[in-house]
């Protein structure tokens, strides 16, 4: 069952255009949203979250259109950006005390569990955290209200290989709990390691949206790795 449906998103800026972006996010699956810098990943994610307004297209979660069901949908999704932190000089504990009141699904046991798992100190402020720990802090908030779908914008950017690997393992464990994970990245090995599905965007246009296996079988030439495929596809788009 699809947790999210994105249909025909279009957004025109003076120097960039998102063209007819469509894909879906399946329940209990990890979807890697890949594309080079400036390809439209963040614009797409912001459109999904109603932070920017597409010129046309529809976004729905859990079968409900975002428009008119914003509050209910946001209670069931978790969002994180890799490097941005909110209220950098407030203690995590104080931020949580405010945020948890917005969620009737807030689970203090889950909060404690992920606090331990991520080895976060709730008396620290985001400004005192490394980039990797900031990602974990955002994830902590998202997971403590039992989000059914996680939308993560470049969560592995700026992380060291160990933290990246650790984070990808967390994604896999969440997937087994039925959580849909949708994360954008430009690091192909992240996709190779844990994604079930791939949504590949280039110059504002979806080039492919399928399972990873289908993607490889459809686009691979003579035993290429996923990275080789991506680089070749990106070059062919540039040369077109």
């Amino acid at each position: 069952m699809d947790r999210a449906e994105i249909r025909g998103l279009c957004k025109r800026y003076p120097s960039f255009e998102l063209k007819d972006v469509s894909f879906s996010i399946g329940s209990g699956r990890i979807t890697g949203f890949i594309g080079r810098n400036g390809s439209g990943k963040t614009t797409t994610i912001k459109s999904m979250l109603n932070l920017i307004h597409p010129d046309s297209g529809e976004v729905s979660f859990f079968g409900l259109p975002m428009f008119g069901n914003e509050a209910e949908i946001k209670k069931r999704i978790g969002y994180s950006t890799g490097t941005v932190s909110w209220y950098p000089r407030k203690k995590i504990r104080d931020l949580v005390a405010i945020v948890k009141r917005f969620y009737d699904t807030w689970d203090d046991a889950a909060y404690r569990k992920y606090l331990d798992l991520f080895q976060l100190d709730e008396n620290k402020m985001p400004i005192e955290l490394s980039e990797g720990m900031k990602v974990k802090c955002n994830l902590l908030m998202a997971l403590s209200h039992r989000a059914e779908i996680l939308i993560l914008d470049e969560p592995t950017s700026g992380l060291d290989p160990f933290s990246r690997s650790e984070l990808l393992e967390i994604f896999t464990s969440l997937k087994h709990d039925g959580v849909a994970v949708f994360f954008s990245t430009h690091i192909i090995t992240d996709i190779e390691k844990c994604a079930d599905d791939i949504v590949y965007i280039s110059h504002g246009k979806i080039v492919a949206a399928s399972s990873k296996d289908d993607f490889v079988s459809n686009y691979s030439e003579s035993g290429e790795s996923l990275e080789d495929i991506m680089l070749r596809l990106e070059r062919s788009v540039l040369n077109a």
Binding site: K46, L49, N50, L51, I52, H53, E70, A71, E72, K74, K75, Y79, V84, S85, W86, Y87, P88, R89, K90, D94, L95, A97, I98, V99, R101, F102, Y103
Partner: protein, 217 residues
């Protein structure tokens, strides 16, 4: 709505917004343009806007499980709460000056505006201008606040100057009434000030909700 107000008061608000409520006590100062107290209260509120912007509050709030327009309503609610707290102080001060301190020499020999219900009505009006010009102007972008704040400062000080000068115009001496003199006029002026405050705030809130809904964050 209570949750977003709690977020505004606990996370977004600068301590100065609370401390500057005390500038309502400037209504006690003789020989001083007392309406400047209103400006200082709004200066404290401006600090909260600045602090919230530095903390990426707009996107943080927009991602909370509430409708986008509720983010704006929460901020207006907080602003009005601070303003009403300072207006309460000003009102108490006005009543003290109109009754207990009615004959106090520093107030009877006051060249500037007296603290009366007319002054309180003008205070309401200036807060309404703040909500309309500054808060409404801020939500056109949810980012830029220099131009709306400078515009507000100019209008607010022109208003203070006009209010201070009014009682020197022949026939308008009653705006500077002492104690309970011309009480009917004074209460009428207060009611007009309150109505303008409500009108400006509600119109500004509506337009800010519309603008914020259209913004790309």
């Amino acid at each position: 709505m209570l949750n977003i107000l709690r977020k505004e008061a606990g996370l977004s608000a600068s301590a100065l917004s609370y401390i500057f409520i005390a500038f309502g006590l400037m209504f006690l100062l003789p020989g001083y343009p007392i309406l400047c107290g209103v400006f200082f209260v709004t200066l404290g509120l401006f600090q909260s806007f600045q602090k919230a912007r530095e903390a990426n509050d707009t996107v943080f709030s927009a991602l909370l499980p509430i409708a986008k327009k509720d983010v704006v309503k929460g901020r207006y609610l907080f602003v009005c709460l601070i303003e009403l707290c300072s207006l309460l102080i000003m009102a108490i001060t006005v009543i003290i000056r109109m009754t207990l301190l009615r004959d106090a020499v520093p107030y009877t020999h006051n060249a500037l505006m007296n603290a009366n219900f007319f002054a309180l009505g003008v205070a309401f009006f200036i807060f309404g201008i703040f909500n309309s010009v500054f808060v409404g102007g801020f939500y056109k972008t949810a980012y830029k606040f220099a131009r709306p704040f400078v515009t507000y400062i100019i209008i607010a000080f022109v208003m203070v100057g006009v209010a201070e000068a009014l009682h020197y115009i022949p026939g308008l001496e009653i705006v500077n009434a002492f104690g309970t003199d011309h009480l009917g006029f004074q209460l009428g002026a207060l009611a007009v000030g309150m109505a303008l405050y409500l009108l400006l705030t509600i119109l500004s809130l509506r337009s800010s909700c519309r603008n914020f809904e259209k913004l790309d964050l």
